[in-house]
């Protein structure tokens, strides 16, 4: 790797990191697991003058479950999340998503906070985070704010995190029926990113769908909640024809589907519909 020159900082605390961020402004970049930033630096697609390595801030690595809330520190790696026993019990969708990211080396380094902030339109986390209606906590020297997942993904590679903020934590309310969830994806053959990924978290009652929360990634410039699909499932018995009809609207929220050499927009739309159907069926079957 031959990046441009930068100054490297390794703050020990969040406060110190925020101070550095204020000091260096937009010319600074945060480094956590490096799985997004390092490739960009290597390609010289960014030339930050300061790298603030928050990867050593232990406070950001905690995962805890207390009461109804799951808290995941932004520096928790995908591998940490994939193997976390309590998460498996209370919200298996998190571990299932984490386990499908990249390859083992990527999972060992990459962090949930880094991935979310980077907001790659084909990343896996956004689908699950949306389906779980999670909240992302961002801190600046002015204080802390809580961003709803649905407000977090702004546009292609653009999250709601401001240049002076650090994502510190992801909060997830324990799902009522943790098992009624799934993350399914079609990986792009080269990168492993999602051509399309669908996360579903259902609440079922007497064979009927009380609530469905579906996150879709890979299809559009940003991950989104498939609200039309969700509405079509609400209150319905999840028989094949209902699910199929509802899933046919999985792409309704996306005006522009991504297109590249790996898949056309039309194919991505088709995959979103098929995988939305499969995700709902799989989640229902697990409940």
């Amino acid at each position: 790797m031959i990046p441009t020159n930068f100054e490297y900082f390794a703050p020990a605390t969040i406060e110190e990191a925020l101070q550095l961020l204020d000091q260096h402004g937009e010319d600074a970049k945060l480094l956590s697991g490096g799985q997004s930033l390092i490739p960009v630096l290597k390609l010289r697609l960014a030339a930050p003058t300061a790298i603030i390595d928050i990867g050593r801030i232990a406070a950001l690595k905690q995962i805890s479950v207390s009461g109804d809330t799951i808290r995941i520190g932004a520096n928790a790696t995908h591998a940490d999340i994939a193997r976390h026993a309590e998460l498996k019990q209370h919200c298996p969708l998190l571990g299932e998503t984490a386990a499908q990211i990249g390859d083992q080396q990527v999972r060992n380094r990459g962090t949930i906070g880094g991935s979310l902030t980077h907001a790659d339109p084909a990343a896996d986390w956004p689908a699950a985070i949306l389906a779980l209606d999670a909240e992302i906590v961002a801190r600046s020297s002015q204080g802390e704010r809580v961003i709803k997942a649905t407000d977090f993904f702004v546009d292609v590679m653009t999250s709601a995190v401001q240049p002076n903020e650090i994502v510190t934590e992801i909060r997830v309310a324990k799902p009522a029926q943790p098992q009624a969830a799934v993350y399914l994806k079609v990986p792009q053959a080269a990168s492993g990113f999602a051509l399309v990924g669908v996360a579903a978290q259902l609440t079922l009652n007497n064979g009927k769908c009380e609530a469905a929360s579906i996150g879709v990634t890979g299809l559009g410039p940003k991950a989104f909640r498939a609200t039309t699909l969700e509405a079509a499932l609400r209150g319905q018995a999840l028989d094949d024809s209902t699910v199929s009809a509802a899933a046919a609207k999985a792409d309704a929220e996306t005006a522009d589907a991504l297109e590249d050499i790996h898949a056309s927009g039309d194919y991505r739309r088709h995959l979103a519909r098929v995988y939305a159907k499969r995700a709902v069926q799989a989640a229902a079957a697990r409940a």
Binding site: S36, L45, P121, V156, M157, T158, G220, E259
Partner: protein, 173 residues
């Protein structure tokens, strides 16, 4: 790569068109524009610090407006290069009246080369759309500020521009 879209701004068409060929406004509205220098009629050299998310690069290039037919049409040619690669684009902007609104339809063809082409392929289209959206959001803000100043008789204060600000402006539409 084809890029097209439309944007609606609440303003009289002629007023909007006048803004769209005003170099001072262009400089303020173009995402990441750091300098704009007039080189001829409707021809400019520009320096842009443009990008998306953590990807950012310095570009320098030339913009030329041609086939300028006030208040409804012009063609824009863009030719730029920077460390991440080069881009070349040609597009048309057409303004039509819709009641109190003006609808801007844009359609263009962009080709990119260098690192951008070989690693950014899947994002170029959506990035271009996003930047177009930011441009129009900024233009909208300028227009509304001017109209408001006229209406209230207060002195015109240019709105604050910025990539993030305009992204949110665009989203809140």
């Amino acid at each position: 790569m084809k890029i097209e879209g439309s944007y609606t701004i609440k303003a009289p068409r002629a007023r909007l068109f006048a803004l769209m060929i005003d170099p001072a406004i262009l400089q303020r509205c173009m995402p990441g524009c750091e300098a704009l220098e007039e080189t001829g009629e409707h021809a400019y050299n520009v320096k842009l610090k443009a990008g998306v998310g953590s990807i950012k690069g310095l570009f320098s290039g030339a913009i030329k407006l041609s086939d300028v037919r006030a208040p409804e049409h012009y063609q824009m040619n863009v030719d730029g290069k920077g460390a991440p690669g080069f881009l070349k684009g040609v597009g048309t902007l057409a303004l039509s009246e819709a009641g109190e609104d003006t609808v801007i339809n844009y359609a263009g063809d962009v080709s990119v080369g260098g690192t951008l082409a070989s690693v950014g392929q899947r994002m170029i289209q959506s990035t271009a759309k996003m930047m177009a959206g930011q441009f129009f959001a900024a233009l909208d803000a300028e227009m509304q500020a001017i109209l408001k100043a006229e209406e209230t008789g207060e002195p015109y204060t240019p709105p604050k521009q910025g990539i993030l600000r305009n992204t949110f402006r665009q989203l809140s539409k």
